[in-house]
């Protein structure tokens, strides 16, 4: 297959765009529907990535890929899910401030452990020795296939979110997020519902972390900063927190525009790339977040479709 049109830079750019779309879709379930402000996205993502990486590299496996990969990846996803269950249990009955503290604190804990446990994670030096679970002709073909697999995974996440939107479970999430005491007084298990959506979301974020680790083949603690959480939040808010297509549109307009269009196709002075562009990117993201929330709080796509449907049904 001729892959000349696809350079390595475009692969990483597309990969990060689709990955952030996946994260924003999961965040949409937690923050958009159930109204749990998860500021620790990078923590669940990073935990999945590091559990996978450490098991893959440090354990003396008796068998080789693909089992070695599948078991390590599964462990990463399960670890992220369990941590989601634990953090969810800690914060599900707290106010917004407690939720912010719990999720943000968790992300910091993951960063601390990745930095200090150098025997396992190699700390700030970075953990190498990862590889793709398959071997094709050359590196580019390997990466292109992995990108394709990621796109399939994100599409599956989207399908799941779409199904949630159209199911009784989705309506339960919206009810719990909209007015928790009311949902509770109607006999809905608010605490358990929040716990469930938090656990599933965390496991999904862990899976995306595993996939990122495979593409990079080198895990660095500098990935565990606040940037990734910011990217997912900005994408979600710009597109619209309550809409299925919100994360897709929002991430394409923010991360996609910046990481692919501006960096690859707009001729900028060479000296800008090292330091100025990443800083400008974060500044623009911050400003966009403020502007959208002030002037168009529901995002570009606007309010939930369900509301429009209700209005048309009741003839308003």
């Amino acid at each position: 297959m001729n892959l000349n049109w696809l350079d390595a830079f475009l692969i990483t750019g597309l990969f990060s765009v689709f990955m952030v779309i996946g994260l924003a879709l999961l965040l949409h379930l937690q923050m958009g529907l159930a109204r749990i402000a998860n500021f620790g996205v990078v923590g669940f993502w990073g935990l999945g990535m590091y559990v996978y990486g450490v098991l893959y590299v440090q354990v003396d496996w008796p068998f080789d890929d693909p089992w070695r990969f599948l078991l390590s990846a599964l462990a990463g996803v399960v670890a992220a899910g369990i941590s989601g269950l634990l953090v969810g249990w800690l914060i599900a009955d707290l106010d917004e401030d407690g939720v912010l503290l719990g999720t943000f604190g968790f992300a910091t804990i993951v960063w601390i452990l990745a930095t200090t446990e150098t025997a396992l994670t190699k700390g700030a030096l970075g953990l190498g020795g990862l590889q793709f679970p398959y071997r094709l002709g050359n590196a580019k073909q390997n990466e292109a296939l992995w990108l394709l697999i990621l796109i399939v995974v994100v599409a599956l996440i989207m399908l799941y979110v779409w199904r949630v939107h159209r199911s009784p479970y989705g309506r339960l999430l919206v009810a719990v997020g909209g007015n928790e005491p009311l949902a509770q007084s109607l006999g809905k298990p608010a605490f358990r519902t929040k716990l469930g959506v938090f656990t599933v979301g965390a496991a999904g974020m862990g899976l995306l972390g595993v996939m990122y680790g495979v593409l990079e083949r080198f895990l660095e603690t500098s990935n565990l900063g606040v940037d990734l959480t910011l990217a997912a939040v900005v994408g979600l808010v710009v597109g619209g927190t309550a809409r299925l297509w919100g994360p897709v549109v929002g991430v394409a307009l923010t991360v996609g525009l910046f990481d692919i269009v501006i960096q690859s196709y707009i001729p900028l002075p060479k000296s800008w790339y090292g330091q100025a562009i990443p800083v400008l990117r974060e500044m623009v993201f911050g400003a966009v977040l403020i502007g959208i929330l002030l002037f168009r709080p529901l995002g570009i796509l606007g309010d939930m479709r369900r509301d429009k449907l209700m209005r048309s049904m009741h003839g308003e």
Binding site: L100, L101, I112, V233, E282, M283, V288
Partner: protein
Amino acid sequence: MVSRVRTSVATVTELFARRPWTQWIAILAAGTLALSLIGGGSFLGKSVVIGLTQHAPLVLAAMGFALLYRLTGLINVAYSETLTWGAYIGWWFNTSLGWNFYASLLPAGLLAGALSVATYLAIFRPAKQRNMGALEMIIMSFGLSILLRYSFQFVFGYPVRFYDVTTSTTARVLGVGVSSFRLLALASVLILAVALYLFIQKSTYGLQIRALASDEDLAQVSGIRPLFVTSLIWFIAGVAGGLAGAFYGVGSNVAYLLGWRQFLFIFLVVMVGGRKSIGGVIIAGIATGIAWAAMNLRLSQTLYAQLVLIVAFIVILKVRGRRTAETGKV
């Protein structure tokens, strides 16, 4: 005997519930006891001296944050950037204009206060007028924090900056060598903290601030100007943050992440100590500083102390912070 123990336990629990800061006294006492049991008197002394001198700015920063949190009900993530801003301003006056460090505290505090008021007038006030939800407010302040942080990096440059202060003579306090400069910084932090406390609790403006926080409509009817008083709250909080930032900066160095690195701990101290009173914040801040220093003396890596603090605080919140049923909303 058993019943007597039970009644005294009940009395203590009631006291904790009525006056939350007594919990901190109890924790402080238990911590002191534990520290002296672990390492003897000299270990205790070391922890206290290092904890106070190194983490004094935490108390100041937490007081400023608690003002905003308690009086406006807002969790302002961007508060961390007033620290960074204050540190940079102080550094600039100190190195570029050659001001004495203590003289440079003045512009650092005032300009940080000005930044704080500006963010209120430009962003948080319009947001409140649009009836923005609590969750959206947090996300917006997160965006503001990012915008300011990277703008500072853009303006003040990428390298880590250092204050120009001559290392002074070392004083020995309880067997620990502390630069007299750090002791002076500690003294200024304590004086500022007490002044702030007295201003809020005793002065007329302090009374107005507290009145506005407890019932806005009633305060307005009583002739309090909400815009002025709220701006005053933001200004004082900003001054406290800016000064704390300058002290952090002179203690180690100034970088664009200076405020953000402290934010989690400021927030933890305020959440645990400051739900009811500013006094609780001071005690919680001091206890945290001492515990932090003690752990750093014992643990193999400095980050472990942060880890223990985060876990401990979240557990405290979980145990204590169970939300009461909000029947009013239904």
